[in-house]
């Protein structure tokens, strides 16, 4: 078997992987990136509306800072996230935007003077000050107190991905394209790289690395209705799970985006609503204010998606030949705004729906969009359970997002986590932990095991068709593990998925094409995807509460007393049919922002006994620091800067708050 050596192996060529690779390369390591597709085609390119960072340059962003962004993110997560990580993230996000500006991202800029905008269905005049002219501007997004989402029209992810990808080319970092990591080389304690399949010639190659970083994105394709690209099958997370020692965190936390075009499931950005778009029902009625008087269309995605589904269930859905949907109305924004700031949306409407969104309403219905869960890591991106393995971006459960991610925080997480985790990887490689000795016996065992997975499929002449099983899995996930969940349905889903998993080992290939046979690829991936689907369904069944995007009809309250904890799914024994679930408590005594009401959505959470005590403590600390600056107060409540690489610890300058 061909063997390739490198200091750092990054699996995944999207924004997170590319940025981590750059950080590790700049510290002198040899770095190699594997990617299913050319990196510029990664799903990061699909991020449309923007990236959150508290620059506070605009009138509607005035007064914004890391504290406000932190609070929005924690509330958005429904207190399911790691607050240390959230602090690290909000602190680094402005630096990431500025770094990207230096790399050529053409962020939209503030134009001084008056301009018209639509806010809450009212035409208003916003006035930007002369001193802000030419700084990076921002738009409104859901679940935020300030206009904080920096953007490049509605092609933000594309512009970021091209800039960062071009930087990796400038640094000479090789990308091995059309390569799929099929298993990790490990001995149960340390990771030594990956066995990789070439998707052109079908051959297996061993990549031996001192540090391995999985940045393969989410697993939306286990659902039938998803905004995700076809490559988002979660194989990176699955091969980590299959080590038996690395857990996947919070797999039941799956986000559904309110505005996927119906029925194709293609995303139209939250920026549509951020810029003043409205949701309407069959009667043309704007229904969100009825449910969410505070934030209306701009409550968090989990809340808006749930309200939309409930409204459809109440009989108010519009109908077309494919089923029921609601309307997204951006006509009031005007052609000039749409042509400049929402041009991808306009193209998508034109090509896929045959409509002009400057004049017609867009048919939308929520669809799976984002995987909050993934490979569980610590704050530095090191995976639990296996030394030398790291993860970042959507593939990881770092845990910035908890049970619901805010719009604009994912594309931001890709680069921010890449900056932080890439440094941690470089630290690892310079430490004694980064030394390694790998026996050829272990390498041979791992390679044989990987080879056996493929030959088990090609040698099997069973009756099952992998494409049909894939479709069956996707239907179960959308029907029974979707926006509104119930214990009975989840139990059925787990049962049906485990049956599918058994059948997936009885496929018979119809084709035997030399090179990488796409049918074999599908049959092999199907088994991995089913494991992830079972982790999602089983985790959802066991979590008898509602938190963020995980909503249980039979347990509609958030239950902090019993469920303020993170699910860890282990697949210890290959013969297991469901994962073993362990739970990791979130410690209120350390929280900067203890659980409370989010500012939108339900108000009936079951309180944790520690919450009141921590609230009192926080009040005492704040009183002690009454005359101190906000950074000192924050430090007294929950110090986090020591967790960041030294060059990312500095204060962020913004207009009105110079350093």
């Amino acid at each position: 078997m061909e063997t390739i050596h490198t200091d750092v192996l990054v699996i995944g060529g999207g924004l997170a992987g590319l940025r981590a690779a750059l950080a590790a390369r700049k510290r002198g390591n040899s770095v190699l990136i594997l990617s299913l597709v050319p990196p510029k085609r990664s799903h990061s390119a699909a991020a449309q509306g923007g990236m959150q960072a508290s620059l506070g340059n605009t009138t509607k962003g005035a007064g914004d800072n890391e504290d406000v962004h932190f609070q929005d993110t924690v509330r958005g997560s429904d207190w399911g996230n790691d607050q240390d990580v959230a602090r690290m993230f909000v602190h680094t996000a402005p630096k990431a935007v500025r770094e990207l500006a230096g790399w050529g991202v053409p962020w939209n800029r503030v134009q001084a003077g008056d301009r018209e905008a639509i806010i809450d269905n009212q035409r208003v005049t916003l006035s930007e000050p002369e001193e802000a002219h030419g700084l990076i501007t921002a738009r409104d997004f859901g679940g935020t107190k300030k206009w904080r989402t920096c953007y490049v029209s509605d092609g933000t992810g594309h512009a970021m991905l091209y800039a960062v990808s071009d930087q990796t080319i400038a640094e000479g970092i090789p990308v091995h394209e059309r390569m799929e990591a099929v298993s990790l080389i490990h001995d149960g304690l340390r990771c030594y790289g990956a066995i990789v399949r070439n998707l052109i010639d079908g051959k297996l190659v061993a990549y031996i690395a001192r540090a391995t970083c999985i940045a393969t994105g989410g697993f939306g394709r286990i659902y039938q209705s998803t905004t995700n690209a076809v490559i988002n099958e979660g194989i990176g997370a699955a091969i980590a799970l299959e080590t038996g020692v690395v857990p996947l965190g919070n797999m039941e936390a799956v986000q559904f985006h309110p505005t996927a075009i119906f029925p194709a499931g293609i995303l139209v950005t939250e920026g549509c609503r951020g810029d003043g778009g409205l949701l309407r029902d069959v009667d043309g009625h704007r229904f969100m204010p009825d449910y969410e008087p505070e934030k209306k269309e701009l409550a968090s995605r989990d809340v808006v998606s749930r309200r939309m589904e409930a409204h459809i269930r109440s009989g108010k859905g519009a109908k077309n030949r494919f089923g029921e949907h609601l309307w997204l109305d951006i006509t009031q924004l005007g052609a000039q705004h749409i042509d400049r700031k929402l041009r991808e949306v306009k193209e998508i409407c034109h090509y896929f729906l045959g409509i002009d969104p400057t004049k017609q309403w867009i048919p939308v219905r929520p669809a799976q969009h984002y995987s909050m869960g993934g490979i569980r890591t610590n704050a530095h991106g090191a995976a639990y359970g296996l030394s030398g393995l790291f993860a970042c971006g959507e593939a990881a459960c770092w845990d910035l997002h908890g049970f619901n991610r805010l719009g604009g925080n994912s594309v931001a997480e890709t680069v921010v986590s890449g900056m932080i985790v890439g440094e941690a990887i470089a630290d690892f490689c310079t430490s004694s932990a980064g030394d390694m000795s790998l026996s050829t016996a272990l390498l041979r065992e791992c390679a044989d095991k990987a080879r056996a997975e493929f030959s088990a499929i090609t040698d099997n002449h069973g009756p099952e068709n992998p494409a049909a099983l894939l479709a069956a899995m996707q239907a179960i996930m959308t029907d029974k593990v979707g926006i509104v969940r119930h214990g009975d349905q989840l139990a059925e889903a787990v049962k049906e998925l485990t049956e599918l998993a058994a059948r997936s080992r009885q496929v018979g290939l119809r084709t035997h094409r030399p090179g990488a046979n796409p049918e074999l690829t599908l049959a092999w991936r199907l088994q991995k995807m089913l494991k992830l689907a079972i982790c999602v369904a089983h985790g959802a069944r066991q979590r008898t509460e509602s938190r963020g995007a995980h909503f249980r009809e039979d347990y509609p309250q958030r239950n902090d007393a019993e469920w303020l904890k993170r699910t860890l799914a282990y697949w210890t024994d290959p013969k297991q049919v469901v994962p073993s679930l362990h739970y990791e408590a979130l410690d209120i005594r350390r929280m900067e922002l203890p659980p409370g009401w989010r500012g939108y959505g339900a108000r009936d959470a079951i309180e944790h006994p520690e919450t009141a005590r921590r609230m009192d403590q926080i009040e005492t600390i704040k009183a002690q620091f009454a005359n101190a600056d906000r950074h000192s107060v924050q430090h007294a409540l929950m110090p986090f800067r020591h967790l960041l690489p030294a060059h990312l610890r500095g204060d962020n300058a913004r207009p009105g708050e110079p350093v």
Binding site: P106, H158, A159, I169, V175, I348, A467
Partner: protein, 252 residues
């Protein structure tokens, strides 16, 4: 897969589509390029993405093609649709006749059937043309960012929208005769960085990259690129403008 509604003709019958696909597997020494016909029933809102996936799921699991975003933004699925380069994912079958011919993009290395290696070509072009911001002053990431005129940022984005799909290369006359030509995708990138005030390169530097027949002087102005660009980039204007600027440098 998305549930589909079959499109009915006025007489109530959905159309039967015949997709003739150019098949070849370079990994198989016995493979000879040939057209293979597949028949499917048309559905409402059917795109070539949906049609090809249906064929692979139900008729021929060995068929090779590339899709990623299936939303017209990633540039993976460019192919010749009835001889014309375009993005398959956003091509609706209702805009085509009952017989549809699909072939891989020319020029690029063939992986199999409709799948070509655009990634390798594009990376090579990026390395050759150094398509990244050249600036030796490190960015102070703690400080307020350098200002930029809002219209400058929008103008850069206009050219930054290229998705490297390869349609312009497939539609280029010069490339047919001169394999080393950088094409509209390459020239557009030079135009993009030339416009960017953060890039410190000047026209003399850009002349070194594209001031020859492999660059802007190789273009025969047939501008097929402009006609087939799925992002409607202003390629004709940009190439003409760049040629004038490079000619000035060449004359000095």
């Amino acid at each position: 897969m998305i549930p589909l509604l079959r499109r009915r003709k006025p007489d109530g019958q959905p159309r039967r589509l015949t997709l003739e696909i150019l098949r070849h597997n370079p990994a198989d020494p016995a493979s000879v390029p040939h057209l293979q016909a597949y028949e499917i029933e048309e559905a409402e809102g059917m795109t070539l993405f949906i049609a090809l996936n249906e064929i692979r799921a139900l008729q021929d699991p060995s068929l090779m093609f590339d899709f990623v975003c299936r939303a017209g933004i990633c540039g993976s699925c460019a192919m010749l649709v009835n001889g014309r380069p375009g993005l398959a994912c956003r091509t609706l079958t209702r805009d085509l006749g009952e017989r549809i011919t699909l072939a891989p993009l020319p020029v690029f290395e063939l992986i199999g059937d409709l799948s070509v290696n655009t990634g390798k070509w594009m990376r090579g072009t990026s390395e050759r043309l150094q398509t990244w911001i050249h600036n030796n002053t490190p960015t102070d990431i703690d400080a307020i960012e350098t200002r930029m005129e809002p219209l400058t940022a929008e103008a850069i984005y206009e050219l930054d929208r290229c998705i490297e799909c390869g349609c312009c290369i497939a539609g280029c006359g010069t490339v047919q005769m001169r394999e080393s030509f950088v094409g509209a995708v390459g020239l557009n990138k030079i135009a993009r960085f030339r416009l960017d005030p953060r890039d410190t390169r000047n026209d003399e530097d850009f002349y070194e990259l594209v001031g020859d027949d492999d660059g802007v002087f190789g273009c025969m102005s047939l501008v097929g690129c402009h006609d087939v660009c799925p992002k409607q980039l202003p390629l004709q204007t940009q190439i003409a403008f760049l040629r004038r600027k490079m000619a000035v440098v060449g004359l000095i």
